[in-house]
Point group: C2
């Protein structure tokens, strides 16, 4: 008998009919002899509707109240799934994040899980019940206030519960049936992976694969919780995320997939005095504004004027704000100019095999050259190569790399979509 | 400085605009130098929508999960009102029933408040904050499960909090601006009462005045919490419910008002053997089916056959069920017949003055006679006379009694409506 944690995304729960379908799957898992804990996101558009109401009563709503408001969404879906399970003759019990012992930091709207004490959940499991836990929420240990976990919060709840309960596997259900070698909407013969190591999944998630949020993969890796990415609408077994890259024999290590990301903007600060501390000014300003940097590149100093350029990427939604701030510093810092470009895209190749196969970078660049795609910026890790290209050429770049590294399968894929929270 | 508890019904909160209006009133009360605790019902139709969803996933939803589901409604309105208050520059903090220390019995869907330990609310009040407490919900002390309080639950929350916090007054806001001498939709010159004693309000609520639920008035009376019934849409001071009837000097004691009720059905069991224990069979069967009796009448035994008839009223929604049950017992109990009639209405006159004014019953019956209304059943208490009449003659009876006892004012009233939960 295994203990299985299942997480269902909002689109899998958007109507009474879908909730009943999810309940059937849960009861089926239970009937196969497993203990089952289920984490639910809010139904379909509930969260957006609540955000909209909040906006109408207060354009800058206080974070604590926002959390109280938004957590209602998961309580609703949670209770409804429990009811649907009981209508199928199985026993269910629902828990709020607080009741399930999900303890978090104090930061409203974007709290982190600091621990899970699922005593009541364990008790209900021991009593033969299917347990439902409201995702995306917890309780701040100090003030006993309700908190929410930010983007990817329900996945994080599921993984943290799985870790605390020592579950055998944490299944993440959405409308995506696994991790693919590339986005099947762009690459027709993209192949679903049967298995991927935590490290590779981390790199894929970090560079734009939306199927899993980075934080959940990090948490799963830290506590060694195997994840399985599956679709709510099929019986396909999905993709297993588990194990270390180190465990993959060198001979088997291959390239995992191509990820892409069109959510970033590129900012370049030109003519920064090339003396110690001048570059730090740029990054301190960005950090103080709570903007996340992704790629960073500093050119070697030009000999003629002893000045350097710094280029970095950040979320497109923060781009304008970053530029305004940097422009306001330009005079005092004696920079020559600040440039902004949000017509860019990032394409990445990820795979443990990269370490043992020299020449991957050369093949990568040649593939793009042959496709007529110009590279604007390169950044690499041990198992990843990422480049910035024109956004208009992004799809072409993804297809070219996927082909060059022979990642495709024989069949064409038709379904693919985004992810919940 | 006074401590004021305010309760707002669902229709007062049905849109973002109404929530902002409510927030203005709350902040105004605070600015006048009062401490303010606010209890909110769920927004407009939220509860019905949730009930509808539950029905779709499970026609017989488990009560515990139903409570988890429904309490989301009050959490939402609560958080939104807190946000609206903060947008007006005041400080607010919202609490769930559980956080506010509302402890209840275990009975899901219809729990009773057994105690309130509002430590966190008091702390926030001491810190100068406006406190918002989600109505209609509490937590079962033994299992720490979320419970709901059934009909009138938000009023009960407000009154119980007011009692625990020793508030100066508990204001009940809805779309009704006070307690009237009769329903202004029926009696054009119905007069709003400035003040009414707890006992009189209890009788009025018991016989159909919908402005306050019986349980809230009972709670308020037990803990001596003055209630004020007011409208969310006007600055009218409403009706104060407080004090004992005993405190009203006999010379001032008058008749309070005329209430009516068209929610009951009449059942008559004919030809019951007139021996000890035979009548009890009827009432035991009704009690076991959890049907509430209202009026009960047993005729004197007819001399010729030593049999008696019993007539009683019960909620119309339970009427058919009661009749079916009684008919199934008919043979064994040797009753002659079971009759059912749901075309009836009840009209009642309430007032402390009844005690000191002989002849009220005679006037009452004559008023109905003069209006051509036939009386089918009479029942009285110390300060109330109620009769059953044909439902089609109910309005006529209300007007006739209101006129005869000169309860009306000089002006005509135009607004009146139902109440929330």
């Amino acid at each position: 008998m295994a203990l299985i944690v299942q997480k269902y995304g909002g689109s899998s729960l958007e109507s009474a009919e879908r909730i009943r379908r999810v309940a059937e799957r849960i009861v089926e898992t239970k009937k196969q002899g497993n203990d089952v804990v289920v984490v639910c996101s809010a139904m379909g558009d509930t969260t957006d509707e609540l955000l909209d109401l909040a906006e109408q009563v207060n354009p800058v709503p206080p974070a604590r109240e926002m959390d109280m408001l938004l957590t209602a969404g998961e309580r609703i879906s949670n209770a409804l799934v429990a009811m649907a399970i009981e209508s199928l003759g199985a026993e269910a019990q629902s828990f709020t994040g607080s009741q399930a012992g999900v303890l978090t930091t104090e930061r409203h709207g974007n709290a982190r899980i600091v621990g899970v004490t699922p005593g009541r959940v364990q008790e209900a499991l021991d009593g033969g019940k299917i347990c439902l836990v409201a995702g995306f929420q917890g309780v701040n240990r100090e003030t006993r206030d309700v908190t929410t976990l930010g983007r990817g919060g329900s996945d994080a709840t599921a993984v943290a519960l799985a870790a605390a309960l020592q579950a055998d596997v944490c299944e993440i259900y959405s409308d995506v049936d696994g991790v693919y070698t590339a986005d099947p909407r762009i690459v027709k013969n993209a192949r679903k992976l049967d298995k991927i190591s935590f490290e590779e999944m981390l790199e894929m998630a970090a560079v734009g694969a939306k199927v899993l949020m980075l934080r959940s993969v990090e948490y799963a890796r830290a506590f060694n919780v195997p994840l399985r990415v599956r679709s709510s609408y099929s019986s396909d077994i999905g993709t297993l995320v588990s194990g270390s890259m180190e465990d993959i024999p060198v001979e088997e290590a291959v390239l995992t997939g191509v990820a892409h990301d069109r959510s970033e903007a590129k900012i370049t600060v030109l003519g920064i005095p090339d003396t110690p501390g001048e570059a730090a000014k740029v990054f301190r300003a960005i950090a103080d504004a709570e903007i996340n940097l992704d790629m960073v590149l500093q050119n070697v100093s030009k000999l003629d004027n002893n000045r350097t350029d710094i280029t970095f990427t950040c979320p497109r939604e923060d781009g304008r704000r970053a530029v305004q701030m940097l422009k306001s510093m330009k005079e005092a810092a004696e920079w020559q100019d600040v440039l902004y470009d949000d017509q860019i895209g990032k394409v990445s190749l990820v795979g443990a095999g990269m370490k043992s196969h020299p020449g991957v970078t050369a093949d990568f660049c040649e593939a793009l050259r042959d496709a007529g795609v110009n590279i604007e910026l390169i950044s690499t890790s041990e198992i990843r190569i990422s480049v910035l290209v024109r956004e208009s050429e992004l799809d072409k770049a993804v297809v070219a790399l996927h082909d060059r590294f022979q990642l495709g399968g024989e069949e064409e894929v038709t379904v693919y979509a985004g992810t919940g929270r």
